[in-house]
Symmetry: C2
Subunit: 411 residues, 2 copies
């Protein structure tokens, strides 16, 4: 199973080839809604009740029968008798007759016989139990109706939605105190390379510390899943095959950060294909950085052989691994966070290749934002660190000119 | 201490009044770099060494002395003798004489006497130990130099930087296996209101379930700090004072989600001012939703009285609490995630007031994005849930017309 058997694919084609072979994992778990921030809903939710469940005042003032205020002006006010006060958090048991009003605070419950609230600022006290109303209110004015926020049976959130702070609050408002969410995926991570050592150790000449295991683990965490580091494997077929298989069996998704030489990459592809059918589907993507990416599905489980270069590794994670995790978790595609900016200098690109350029963002005095390319070889991790985001040069653009408005994908 | 004593402030003025009274907390903690994702650096970091620490090949090919290849063409190749192979992860001990080459893989270490790498594709084997070189290479070609990624002593990351996946990888690449980060802030959250009940319970008429405690806790978590829920306090001065004081003493920052009536808000302001000097600094902001916001500093600790309405509560958290947490943690202001969109309909606004409008984003067939306003009263939590973000109508804009290009702040 060597590279030569595979055509180089465009990034969207390569991704589709993998996603077409996968189905969302069916396992879900119930968690407390208050602990479900950033989890992916595994069920569609409908409202069990009306919210609010009673008519509420949106102002401090007086619950009234609107008809009693019709025609009221400052010169010719309506006079109403205060027959009581509505206590917060209590059923409004006061019955208003014609010409009656009840003191009500913001959030208080309207009595059945009231249909509007007049703001205290639009009234004037003229006795211990009498107010002048200086303008009319319409029925429903300053009132939130039953079910105005959500009606019983209304769809609330779709399956696949990632829960945000306001979603947590909104579900709890309806008494939905636990929710069914997608299980976090176990993402196995294996780094390969005779030259790669644990970052806790001091490299001898020729050795480098492992970068990709930890960058990948952090990316997986950010995506809401569980990274499992399986350590560093030497460039030896038997060792690689053993470690990769063990990691594969313990994971929902496996990411191998392979070495950068052709022989290592071919060995990685062979090992991946040995894990199950159909095996390697894509070996080589028309992408820079990231060309030598391996995409595979083995016995229904996605396996990725990402380039060893840290920049390539991060770019290909974003293009291929992140959307695969979203599919398996049944999550809606996340909105990519972007900033509109203006490119400060020409960047070249080969046609027929999708290029990703790291950029630093700088605010201009006019309030706009400049995207300043951070150039560097794809094995220089600090080009990623000096950058705020990336921009894509489309397949056939052949580069971008200075001054072009661009959408920067933020890290 | 009533509302009348305070002028209504613009949102930027209100925020500055609070931030001017605060200094970053000095406490920091050392954590493992691999566990430091999204933590805020409490130290500036410089590189302890050159990265890479040896010259590395970026290609599979042959380490050579560039001068030996000068003038080589396909018609008149240079002939080099292969004198050995450089093993990955090992010191390159081979000494190249004139006319010598050594097999090297991507990432391999260059021998001292080599100064370039010729790609294997640009050579041809003509014997077991001889290659033809079909084009010349310049000194340094296909080589990453010592310190080309980072030089010893180079500044790496500033104090206040929030660690991203690539930062974790980059620090570990240099053997920086632990870092000094700002302590997570303990953010106390108190909800007030006689009508508010725990979401686990069923509301009687007039009662509503607590929304804000959980929305606020989720926002605090997203900002990398530790929310501490102190429960729901009735609208009773003694109870409120006792609970708020206890929460204040246990927190770095206190957020009270007060009731919505004027009397409750005034009581909250009085309680907050009793916590320490100078007490309430702002009571009322020219902002919709969120006007009745209380901003205070008590004995050097920020205290917020946010409106009880869920939409107001979330808007004012973003405008006032989030930047305060960033200041206390010594964090750089985070880049607000925005999407450029086009407003689909007119929205009105009073001049002299900053308005926040919830919008739903919809992709247009032309690839652009529409921002569709989601209207609703500020006590309707589902207006936030149906929205993807918010847009700001500046203080004196007096509204925005349909078709205006807008920047949507994503939730």
């Amino acid at each position: 199973m060597t590279r030569e058997l595979f055509d180089v694919r465009t990034p969207p084609d390569a991704l589709r080839i993998v996603l077409d072979r996968l189905v969302p994992l069916s396992e879900a778990e119930r968690v407390k809604t208050k602990d479900a921030l950033d989890r992916v809903l595994a069920e569609a939710l409908c409202s069990p009740s009306d919210l609010p469940s009673f008519r509420r005042s949106t102002m401090d003032g007086f619950a009234v029968r609107a008809a009693d205020t019709y025609g009221a002006t400052e010169g010719l006010p309506a006079y109403l008798e205060i027959v009581g006060e509505i206590l917060m958090g209590r059923a409004a048991s006061i019955e208003l007759q014609r010409g009656h009003a009840a003191v009500i605070a913001t959030g208080g419950m309207l009595p059945d016989t009231a249909d509007a609230v007049i703001m205290v600022e639009q009234t004037q006290a003229v006795g211990p139990h009498t107010i002048e109303v200086l303008r009319p209110v319409a029925p429903g004015e300053n009132v939130v109706q039953v079910g105005e926020d959500v009606r019983r049976g209304d769809p609330l959130l779709e399956r696949g939605h990632t829960l945000r702070p306001q979603d947590i609050g909104g579900l709890l408002a309806l008494g939905i105190t636990d929710v069914c969410v997608a299980r976090r995926l176990a993402v196995g991570i294996v780094s390969g390379g005779d030259e790669v050592i644990d970052p806790e150790h001091s490299p001898a000449p020729g050795q480098i510390r492992d970068i990709n295991s930890y960058t990948l683990a952090s990316l997986v965490l950010r995506d809401g899943h569980t990274p499992r580091l399986h350590g560093i494997v030497p460039d030896d077929y038997t060792a690689l095959e053993r470690e990769v298989r063990a990691a594969f069996e313990a994971s929902d998704v496996l990411v191998v950060s392979a070495g950068s030489s052709v022989s290592t990459r071919d060995m990685t592809a062979t090992v991946i294909s040995s894990l199950g059918l159909p095996g390697v589907l894509v070996h080589g993507v028309s992408l820079k950085p990231g060309k030598p990416t391996i995409l595979a599905v083995c016995d229904g489980k996605p396996v990725f052989g990402l380039p060893g270069n840290p920049v390539s590794c991060m770019v290909t994670y974003g293009l291929f691994v992140a959307p695969t995790l979203a599919l398996l978790a049944g999550a809606d595609a996340p909105t990519q966070k972007r900033v509109a900016a203006r490119l400060t200098r020409n960047v070249a690109s080969a046609t027929g290749r999708e290029d990703y350029i790291q950029v630093r963002l700088e605010e201009r005095p006019d309030g706009g934002v400049d995207a300043v390319p951070v150039f560097g070889k794809s094995n220089l991790i600090y080009t990623l660190i000096r950058a705020d985001g990336m921009l894509k040069i489309p397949l056939d653009a052949g580069g971008l000119l200075a001054g072009t408005p661009v959408d920067v994908m933020l890290f």
